[in-house]
Every structure is written in C-alpha cells, then in structure tokens.
C-alpha cells in the first residue's frame, strides 16, 4: 500500500514540484532583469561572464593548504554525484522507464562503485568541515544542514540498496529522493542550476567595467 503510494502518486507529485519549482525560480531570476548601465563599457561583458564561469570552476592556486583539501573534496563530491545520477545503470533504467522512454550507455560497475566512494568521501569531508569550522558554522543555516542531510541520506540509502534484491530498500531510497525533489526548489540546492547564472552575472558586470574578477 505505502509502496504503491511511494512508487506512484508521490513520485508524480515530487517530480511536478521539482520541475515547476525549479522553472519558477529560474524564470523569476531572469525576469528580475538588470538596472540599465549608462556608463561607457571598458571591456566585454560576455567575455567577462565566460571567463568568470571558467575561472571560478577551476582549481584556485592561491588557496591555503586546508582550503585545497576542501576544493578537492568539492570536486570529488560533485563529479561523483553527477556520475552516479546520470550514468549508474539502475538510475538510467529508472529514467528510461519513468521519464525519458529511452536509456543511454551506463558506466561499468567498478566506475559506479568508485563514483559512489568519491561522492561519499567529498560529502563527508565537506559536511564535517561545515560543522567544525567556526566560520562555516556561522555562515550555515538550517537550510544548509537540511540539504546536506537529505543528499547524504539519499546517497546512503542508495548504497544500502545496491544489491537490488529488496523492494523495501529501493522504496526507502526512492522516498528520500522524492523528499529531496520536493525540498530542492525551495533550498540552496538550487545552486545546481543558478551557479552558472550568478557567476556569469558577476563576470559580466565586472567585465563591462574592465575588471578581471
């Protein structure tokens, strides 16, 4: 009974909340527009935007030693999670059955396991650092912790269900993924979609002023 609910109506509802919520947030940001800048441009806004998107995504050489570990952890977590989400065979099968109607090439099983290991490694290091460092502890609010806990639990239950032998484990994983989808548009997890926009905006503003930011 509860399994049917998780597999059916709750999945549809959570997906709808996710899609509509994310679209609404992005449209709202785009609709906000820019204040007209009447000054003479001292550089190209577009090249500034592209430069900042790239430079903010690559390894920062000037980071302190301890910051370096966190940068690496950040890469490990995001790349690992991305690979798991879109190239793990069980997920591709799920998307093909429920959303796209077609599948694509999956990564081999060893790469699947390695991605999970890297994602866990990165997430745990970042999460512990968030809790321990007085700076990040002050900067973090409930939203940060809730988002991290939900992502961690989705990953953990996914790893516990790896054998794909028990329906109960699959349903727990799906239920948590659905809760994450519902929470997603209202949280800082939206940075998945907005990070390019915000970096591009900063880069364009600075690029127009001729500042290499």
């Amino acid at each position: 009974m509860i399994g049917q609910f998780i597999d059916g109506p709750l999945w549809t509802f959570s997906l709808a909340v996710f899609v509509i919520g994310v679209a609404w947030r992005i449209v709202t940001i785009l609709m906000a527009g820019n204040r007209p800048d009447l000054s003479t441009p001292r550089g190209s806004a577009s090249s500034g935007a592209i430069r900042t998107i790239i430079t903010r995504s690559v390894y920062e050489r000037t980071a302190a030693t301890r910051g370096r570990l966190l940068q690496i952890a950040g890469y490990l977590f995001h790349i690992g999670l991305f690979a798991l989400l879109f190239f793990a065979q069980p997920h591709i099968d799920f998307y093909a059955e429920r959303i796209t109607g077609f599948g694509w090439a999956a990564m081999p099983h060893w790469a699947f396991i390695l991605s999970a290991e890297l994602a866990f490694l990165g997430l745990l290091l970042l999460w512990i650092h968030r809790l321990l460092s007085p700076v990040t502890r002050l900067l973090s609010d409930l939203d940060d912790h809730l988002g991290t806990v939900l992502v961690f639990l989705v990953m953990l239950t996914g790893c516990l269900a790896l054998a794909q032998s028990f329906e109960a484990l699959r349903l727990i994983h799906l239920l948590l993924a659905e809760l994450l989808l519902i929470y997603f548009p209202f949280s800082k997890l939206m940075h998945t979609f907005t990070f390019i926009m915000s970096r591009g905006y900063t880069g364009a503003t600075m690029g127009r002023k001729g500042v290499n930011a």
Partner: protein, 362 residues
C-alpha cells in the same frame, strides 16, 4: 549397480531424469575405487552405510585436496571444501561467542570503572586561558575516520551477530533486509576507511613516536588509577599505543577487507576464510579499544573532548595530563585568554594570537 526407472513428463521430468543420471555417473568412479580397494584384499569397511566411503572420497578427507579438471578457475578442482566447514564451525562456535563476551565485558568494565573512579575532573578547575591543540584539518580527519569507523562497526556487528541476536528480535524476513543493507553499506564504505587511515597516519605519525617520559607514564598507570596526575608529552603513552594499534590492526582490517570484497585476484577460499578471521578479530579488538577511547573522550574525563571539538583545550587540563607539552606551549606564549577564544575560536587563525597579545601588552 542402481537401476534407473524414469518416466519423464515435460521439461521438469527430463531435468530430473538428467540430474539423476548425472549423479549416477558421478558415483561411478568412486564405486570403481571402492571395488578396487576390495579386490586388493583390504578388510571390508567397518561402517554399515555403503555411501560413507563415497562421501569420504567426495569430501576428499583422505585424498589430496585438489582433483583434476578441465575447468580453469580458482578452486574449480575442489569438489567439496572441507576447510569451509571448519571455518564455519570456528565462526559460529568460537568467534561469535568470544567476540560477544569481549564486547560485553568491555561495556561492563567501563561501567564499573565509571562507578568506582567517576569522572576524572580538572583538579585545579578550568583555567582562564586555553591552548590551541588541534588544527581544523586535524579535527576534520579525526571526525572523518570516526564517522566511517562507527558506520563500519555498526554494519559489521550486524553482519557478525545478526543470526544469533537479531533474527530472534526482527524475524528472518526483516533481518534479511537489514543484513543486505549492512553488507552493501559495509563493502562500499570500507575502502574509505583506508583513505581515512592514510590521512590520519600521515598527519599524526610524527607526534606518536615514542619518546622520553612515555615509559614512566605507563609505569605509573597513566594517572587513571589513583589520584595523582602523570605528566606526558602532546600524546601520552596510551594515546600513542592506540595510534599504533589503529595503524597496525587497521592495516590488517583494511588488507583483509580488500581480499574479501575483491575476490578477483585469484585468492582461494582458504585465503578468504583466513581474511575473514583476521578481519573479524582485528575489528572486534579495535571496537573494544575505541569504546575505551570514546569513554575517556565523553563521560570519562572532563575537558578531554574539547580539543577535538573546538580545537582548544583548557590550560589546567593540559598541565594535568600533558604537562611537558603544556609547559613548552606556555613558555612560547601560546596560551590564549578565554575571551579571545570565544570571540573567534579558530585555532589556525589564533596559532600566534597568544604571543601577539603578550607582545602588545609589553
């Protein structure tokens, strides 16, 4: 020779008939062997069951462990692994009960110790200044290995004690779900323990090399027994020994764990059984020791956990438990007033704050 009388009906019937024929064919060589023994004039076997010889031969108790086969693969020439039965008996009848008694004994010992000794307080009371003890990175890797270890310990104990302890509580069906989840989680998180172990080893090895004063700490019981405090270095003899146990036993656990989860390097069943025994014994020992570590860090001693949570430790606590180090730090002017610590408690940023404040006063 047995007669086969079969009336196969459908696919299932044919399968049954073929299976019985295959078993009969497998029995032929051993029957020949039994006959050859009789023809050699050996005394007839004293057992009444005519199948006993056959099964003795199949189990290869009195013969070389390996036969001959065209199949290429690890242990493909072994028909029945007799060692597996010995390993199973060892696991069920010795390992699990002994591990259970050890862990239970540790819990009882810690409770008794707490009741008798109570919480070890800072005798001089908390001081008005602190010493920076662990950097953010050190605390990060400590809690990283701690979280991985706790997860692995819980899932490992479920796998080890599940059959005798959890099946009676949850029933077989629910336990099968819990066991599967534990096994998958344990296998996936296991390699992360290796990463954590390397990080911890590299960071802490220098301060864990035994030095002058360690032995006297040990001879005086570490100050836990009795009321007198024993001076020590940054880490005392007990902490150093725990570190080396973590490194050595941890390496055994990691190596045996890798043998178990990657059965693709040609390791035989005997190696797997040995790896399992080493893995379980090492893990149980480590869990018992870590229980003591958690006890001291939480309810056993006032101020002990502070260094790993905030990065600072109380000056009086440091003087009472790590006097050599505390004196050195004080001489270098590293003590930081509590107000300064509370204002911004980052030990990395405050590494030289104590000295700077003193210099400003002068």
């Amino acid at each position: 020779m047995p007669r086969l009388s079969l009336t196969p009906t459908g696919v299932g019937g044919y399968t049954t008939a073929w299976s019985l024929l295959l078993i009969w064919l497998l029995m032929l060589p051993s029957q020949g062997l039994a006959e050859s023994k009789q023809t050699r004039g050996l005394p007839p076997p004293a057992v009444l069951n005519p199948a006993a010889d056959l099964w003795r031969d199949i189990r290869q108790r009195d013969m070389p462990a390996r036969g001959t086969t065209q199949v290429r693969g690890v242990d493909s020439a072994v028909l029945i692994n007799a060692n597996g039965d010995r390993w199973r008996k060892f696991r069920m009848e010795l390992l699990i009960p002994a591990a259970g008694y050890l862990l239970l004994g540790m819990i009882v010992a810690l409770i008794l110790f707490y009741v008798i000794r109570g919480k070890v307080k800072i005798e001089g009371g908390t001081a008005d200044s602190k010493l920076p003890r662990y950097t953010s990175y050190e605390r990060l890797i400590h809690w990283f290995i701690a979280s991985i270890f706790i997860f692995l310990a819980i899932t490992g104990l479920i796998i080890l004690f599940g059959r005798p302890l959890l099946i009676p509580v949850f029933g077989k069906e629910l336990f099968s779900v819990i066991a599967s989840a534990s096994k998958e989680g344990h296998n996936l998180m296991g390699p992360l323990f290796l990463v954590a172990l390397i990080l911890v080893f590299v960071k802490f090895v220098r301060r864990n090399i035994y030095q002058k004063g360690d032995m006297s700490w040990l001879l005086r019981g570490g100050g836990i027994i009795g009321k007198k405090h024993v001076p020590s270095n940054f880490f005392n003899m007990g902490e150093k020994s725990m570190f080396w146990m973590l490194v050595i036993v941890g390496s055994v656990i990691v190596a045996s764990g890798l043998v178990l989860i990657f059965p693709i390097f040609g390791q035989s069943r005997e190696w797997m059984e040995l790896a399992h025994v080493g893995h379980a014994i090492g893990a149980i020992l480590m869990i018992a020791v870590i229980m003591g570590h958690i006890y001291i860090g939480s309810i056993g001693m006032q101020g002990a956990i502070e260094g790993m949570t905030t990065g600072y430790c109380d000056l009086n606590w440091a003087k009472e438990h790590h006097d050599y180090w505390a004196s050195q730090m004080e001489r270098r002017g590293e003590a930081v007033p509590n107000e300064a610590v509370n204002r911004f408690s980052d030990p990395d940023a405050n590494r030289s704050l104590g000295r700077e404040l003193r210099e400003a006063e002068e």
